[in-house]
Assembly symmetry: C2
Homo-oligomer: 341 residues x 2
Amino acid sequence: MEKARRFVLASRPVGEPKEADLRLEDFAVPEPRAGEVLLRTLYLSLDPYMRGRMSAAKSYAAPVAIGAVMEGGTVSEVVVSNHAAFAQGDIVLGRTGWQTHAVSDGASLRKVDPTLAPISTAVGVLGMPGMTAYAGLLDVGKPKAGETLVVAAASGAVGSVVGQIAKIKGLRAVGIAGGADKCRYVKDVLGFDECLDHRAPDLPARLAAACPDGIDIYFENVAGAVLDAVLPLLNSFARIPICGTIAHYNDTAPPPGPDKLPAVWRMILTKRLRVQGLLVTDFAALHGDFLRDMGQWVREGRVKYREDIVDGFEKAPRALIGLLRGENFGKLLVRVAERSE
Amino acid sequence: MEKARRFVLASRPVGEPKEADLRLEDFAVPEPRAGEVLLRTLYLSLDPYMRGRMSAAKSYAAPVAIGAVMEGGTVSEVVVSNHAAFAQGDIVLGRTGWQTHAVSDGASLRKVDPTLAPISTAVGVLGMPGMTAYAGLLDVGKPKAGETLVVAAASGAVGSVVGQIAKIKGLRAVGIAGGADKCRYVKDVLGFDECLDHRAPDLPARLAAACPDGIDIYFENVAGAVLDAVLPLLNSFARIPICGTIAHYNDTAPPPGPDKLPAVWRMILTKRLRVQGLLVTDFAALHGDFLRDMGQWVREGRVKYREDIVDGFEKAPRALIGLLRGENFGKLLVRVAERSE
């Protein structure tokens, strides 16, 4: 008989998560009741927000409880259906978490058409990360042709899409990424105008050279040293959509001084910046537009994507630790199981 | 023969300005040429932004040069007119600076109708500070009835108007001011729901008690300890229009750590805050609406104002130092001369 496995939160990380903060458990494959489906996880999406869910700190979403299954977006296959809207073999997008099997009443599932695009893209370029880039850049960033955009983690799931949409909209796109390989990919394959290696010395001077007309949109997903380099280059009326601050997710205390907040607050005033946070879940009204536009851009090859697929469910904790270190190259996924024929 | 006097910037202040940073000079009353008018200053407006103009640091406007006349908004009387659009005795609003007399080609002057309101209000509730409050609250803050607004310097030229407009728009208005007299005035005369003395202990707890439903708009004009107290109380989707950070204008270096910026940046994300700087000069398109609405509100007594008038031009430097310390009570003005009959 098939066994199910899941990762539960064993302890709240202090600083960088350890593999032991997540505990692998076996459990019996659950039985779907009337109106429910049994799902087998094919892909588990790994994303930076997960670090926040491991902490007890107050945030926009409740933390995962100790002993509870880690949260996560998944692409799954319907194994058994007692639900009129789903058939065995259907592929669905859900938030069933870090487990090989789950039962669902279908309310939070969305069917994925495997003939339109690889099913893994439902948690990538055509899913939450792609939508974050789309809504954050277009709705919050309000890009105008001829402007300059800067985005870090430029080879990653969100940053790669931000820069490519910026190019479609006629902006200059400058990426920042970790290492020469990623930078080459961002420039040569994704078509950014420039990509700078944040590991090389003197990022501020290189960024200034790459942005001769200043910066009009800084799509913030990292903060830290990249933000420091960006701030002096911001033009008046620049926009900073904030979708993440991954450089600080493993901080155990506020960084040492001096306190940069007063100078940044004053710069927001003198340059009339707009700094605005965004969560993808706030943009449900744009989802139809997103699927139409992004689907077309991907089909036309105007938006390219790269997946970093880790094979084997048991490797998920190590992969998440690597994600927070910037070790992945492209959208990070765990392949939990093969689709059945 | 009448002598003219002016204050020029003698030296750039380090920290709090000293009176000696401004030097009083005599000069010959200038002669207007064809197309020009000679103005006699009646009121000089003193405003916090002036501290920025005394520094060499890059900002939205060029600093005042050493030896040049200090900048400032003025209400003046036309003494001699060689300009078709102005007659002797006209009252005009201008930016002729810290001097008793000035010559102008009229391009940057606006006539003030002395029958509509006291002429001093042209640099107060019906002028730049009133317009800053109006545009910042309505256009940037986007207030909605039932929300809670917090503003500091609540008895001052901008804060007093922000809170009164908030009340007109159906918000709960909570002010912060320095000392019991100002707080009583803000609550009893201006009609704020609450006003808290920032000099009394435990502002964070008192602010939390005054904002039982959290804070939806924090109109930022001070930063510092008030911002620290506001941040934990902000609701999701709160707005922070930034028009000033007076608590830091005399800073000589960034404050010691820890660095609060990463935590604030993350809060902007998790609460989906919108933080946006504003300069009144960006809102020329709203000026007609402002004059119509504010004129009506003042006539109807729905917006009250209080002026803190210092008599004597020579007292301007000391008054500016006091403004930066929060010693004024109401819109600070220097009465430079009486209107002639």
